[in-house]
């Protein structure tokens, strides 16, 4: 065991270990992948927690020996050990101490919030809190981390903040998903009131953190944002919290402007929503250039979405994240899909079943005057239009009422159009074979028993309309029309009637969905089925079928 050697690193490393370990929860999950741990920490190891595994990926090596030593030094109860570590971590992070500091002095101040966080938050949260501290503190441990120097730099920068900007620090690093936990932990740092809300959100997002670090950070940001918004609707408090979740690239700007810049950023977000915060566009704009990188923009969008969702009325963060993801699909494919998953919903359905979630986005979010923002706005409007039209098509095309999703709907529509076109072809061929001279003796049709046998009130009702409507017709044509309509009425009376009743609202468009849906729903399917029933056998007959008929 390296306990003796590690005493010095204990404080700092504990943080890291805690971060990694805490993900699984209070249970002793210290050792995930570490092989250095001795038998004692084995009890602590919990391989079940996915979070732990994910989080431990980056700092597994760091966790190894630390865990063992840490546990041995700390009290038996994990809580105590956590408390110490938390205190240390919190101290280091909040104090803005440089790397390598233990921050013991702040322990007392941090103990309480951490205790509260422990009680309320899940293990992941705790892990998240400690991770940033640990990483920033320990150069040695950092060496084990993937992004050493960069991480150290940012940790140093972060230390200057209130410890709330870990998310920003973490995100740009490209550190594995475990860092996502940090962002969540950052949220916890904010205050006890947020912890409860954040924990709820983070538990959801934590599951997804494994998918991708970026997603996790974003999700956590969303979660933290939403939590923050919920917890405190006041602008000052909001600004504080929002500053955390601001784009990571804002770090440099944040150092100087830090809080103000973040505040303005957040204010802008909320301003777009409903002006909850003071919309300080200038600050946002200033921050915008600093927030370079697509990832930052993506995060902002997710943040905005989260805020908007809150504005909507406190929609569940999961759903909001998912909706936001869908809205931003065009810009951020990865994000949206991951966010969708983050919310626990099926990613596939999220992209396909665009109709139901779209309905929630009636309002148009105010975005910054950027090409991407306006583009996404127009994109969303366009998608809504398409979904609207698809609904009409659903009523029109038989068998589509239960189908949701663009791809399947389009498939049905394609099949239907193809079948209709084939029917036209078949019927034209049939007519061609029936009439050798293309004369279509309407008078003959009239004269024959067709009208006599089938003449009915409905058909008669048609005839006068027809003759009146077409005075310019050739003399034979009115007869044809009159004959044809009765024939039509007789042979496909039901079909025609229902179709006519349906067509009236239909031709007007799909602009009257209510009428359409009501009218079509009941009759259309029956009618179409009839049509299909009549057409299908005839279609299947094929040309060969026609000739024997003709011959007979």
């Amino acid at each position: 065991m390296d306990i003796g050697e590690k005493d010095k690193y204990e404080l700092e490393k504990r943080n890291e270990n805690h971060i990694n370990y805490q993900a699984p929860g209070m249970s002793p999950d210290w050792q995930f992948g570490g092989a250095n741990l001795t038998s004692t920490p084995m009890s602590l190891v919990s391989s079940d927690n996915p979070m732990a595994i994910g989080s431990s990926c980056a700092s597994a090596s760091v966790v190894d020996s630390f865990g063992t030593s840490l546990w041995e030094h700390t009290s038996n109860s994990q809580n105590l050990g956590f408390c110490d570590i938390n205190a240390q971590n919190g101290a280091s992070s909040s104090n803005g101490m440089g790397i390598g500091k233990g921050g013991n002095s702040l322990r007392s101040t941090i103990d309480r919030p951490f205790d509260m966080s422990w009680n309320a938050a899940s293990s992941m949260l705790r892990g998240g809190i400690f991770l940033p501290n640990a990483t920033g503190i320990l150069p040695q441990s950092l060496s084990q981390l993937p992004a050493d120097s960069a991480f150290i730099d940012r940790a140093a920068r972060f230390s200057s903040f209130n410890g709330g900007n870990f998310s920003d620090m973490v995100n740009p690093f490209g550190i594995p998903e475990s860092m996502g936990l940090y962002t969540r932990g950052v949220g916890l740092m904010q205050g006890p009131q947020d912890i409860f809300a954040i924990s709820g959100m983070k538990s959801v997002s934590v599951v997804e953190s494994e998918k991708s670090k970026l997603n996790s950070t974003e999700a956590s940001k969303d979660a933290s944002l939403q939590v923050e918004n919920r917890a405190t609707q006041e602008s000052p408090l909001k600004n504080e919290k929002k500053s955390e979740s601001l784009v990571p690239s804002n770090e440099e700007a944040k150092q100087g402007n830090g809080g103000s810049g973040n505040e303005s950023d957040e204010a802008e977000f909320s301003g777009g929503i409903g002006g909850q915060d003071e919309p300080s566009a200038l600050d946002d704009l200033s921050l915008e250039p600093s927030a370079k990188g697509l990832s930052s923009k993506k995060r902002k969008r997710s943040v905005q979405d989260a805020e908007v969702d809150q504005v909507k009325g406190g929609e569940p963060p999961v759903e909001a994240a998912k909706d936001n993801a869908e809205n931003q699909k065009k810009g951020d494919q990865n994000q949206t899909t991951t966010i969708n998953k983050t919310t626990g919903k099926q990613g596939k359905q999220g992209s396909q079943a665009s109709d139901p979630p779209k309905e929630e986005y009636i309002h148009v979010r105010a975005r910054r005057g950027q090409a991407t923002n306006s583009h996404s706005l127009a994109e969303r409007v366009r998608r809504e239009k398409i979904s609207e039209r698809m609904k009409f098509l659903q009523d029109l095309v038989p068998g589509c009422s239960k189908v949701t999703g663009k791809a399947v709907m389009l498939d049905e529509i394609i099949n239907y159009v193809q079948s209709l076109q084939r029917q036209v072809e078949f019927l034209s061929m049939k007519l061609a074979t029936v009439n050798p001279r293309l004369d279509f003796n309407i008078e003959g049709l009239l004269a024959k028993d067709i009208i006599q046998s089938r003449a009915g009130p409905s058909s008669l009702g048609f005839s006068p309309d027809m003759s009146v409507g077409y005075p310019s017709l050739h003399p034979s044509q009115p007869g044809l029309v009159q004959a044809a309509l009765p024939v039509m009425g007789n042979t496909s009376d039901v079909i025609r009637r229902t179709l006519s009743s349906q067509f009236t609202p239909m031709t007007g468009g799909y602009k009257e969905p209510n009428q359409l849906s009501n009218a079509w729903e009941d009759d259309l399917h029956n009618v179409v089925q009839m049509n299909y029933g009549a057409g299908a056998p005839s279609d299947s007959q094929d040309v060969n079928g026609i000739t024997p008929f003709f011959m007979s």
Binding site: K341, L420, Q421, L427, S428, L431, V434, M466, Q502, N531
Partner: protein
């Protein structure tokens, strides 16, 4: 708003006009020729019933009027609206240019989308990218089905599809009724 009955009536009337035109011009036609004439007049009648309000109808008439032989048929059916033919031709040519632009844009978008999907996590992006690819493929198929569909964007494509389906249905109904009536007449 047109009533379905009026739509069918209009279609039938124009269809018969086309029949007469065809039958008067040629003495003897093979089955296939007759079928083509029937279908052509039906299509043109259907398209003219819309009187150039829809894109597919214009494209249909434009494509039909390209051939010299069918041009007269179109003119007869459309009647004094032959000037529209010229407009439609221009429309179709303009649409060709637009389609090229649209296609190039699509290629660009597709390439960008592919790049994006590779970056993100495979699981997450795979589902949505597959769905999007499916939708895109099927949109392409639909565009090939609807006359003049390649020149439309997605929104108008769905509108045109709606109108086209309605017209097709009316056409099928009229034709079926006529076919049944003719069969009955022949039988009797």
């Amino acid at each position: 708003m047109r009533s379905p009955g009026s739509l069918k009536q209009e279609f039938l009337k124009k269809w018969i006009m086309g029949f007469q035109r065809c039958s008067s011009s040629k003495k003897s036609m093979s089955v296939l020729d007759r079928k083509k004439a029937i279908k052509l007049s039906a299509d043109i009648a259907m398209a003219s019933a819309r009187k150039g309000t829809t894109c597919w109808s214009r494209a249909l008439i434009a494509s039909a009027s390209k051939d010299g032989s069918d041009k007269h048929l179109v003119e007869q059916i459309l009647g004094p609206e032959s000037e529209r033919l010229i407009l439609m031709k221009k429309f179709s040519t303009g649409a060709l240019v637009c389609s090229k632009r649209i296609r190039s844009k699509k290629i660009l978008k597709r390439s960008c989308g592919i790049r994006r999907t590779r970056k993100c996590a495979p699981q997450a992006a795979l589902a949505s990218s597959i769905a999007k690819r499916l939708v895109r493929k099927r949109t392409q198929v639909l565009k090939s089905l609807i006359p003049g569909g390649e020149f439309m964007n997605e929104v108008s494509l769905i509108e045109e599809t709606l109108d086209y389906i309605i017209s097709l249905r009316a056409q099928v109904d009229v034709m079926r009724s006529l076919a049944i009536a003719s069969e009955l007449v022949n039988h009797n």
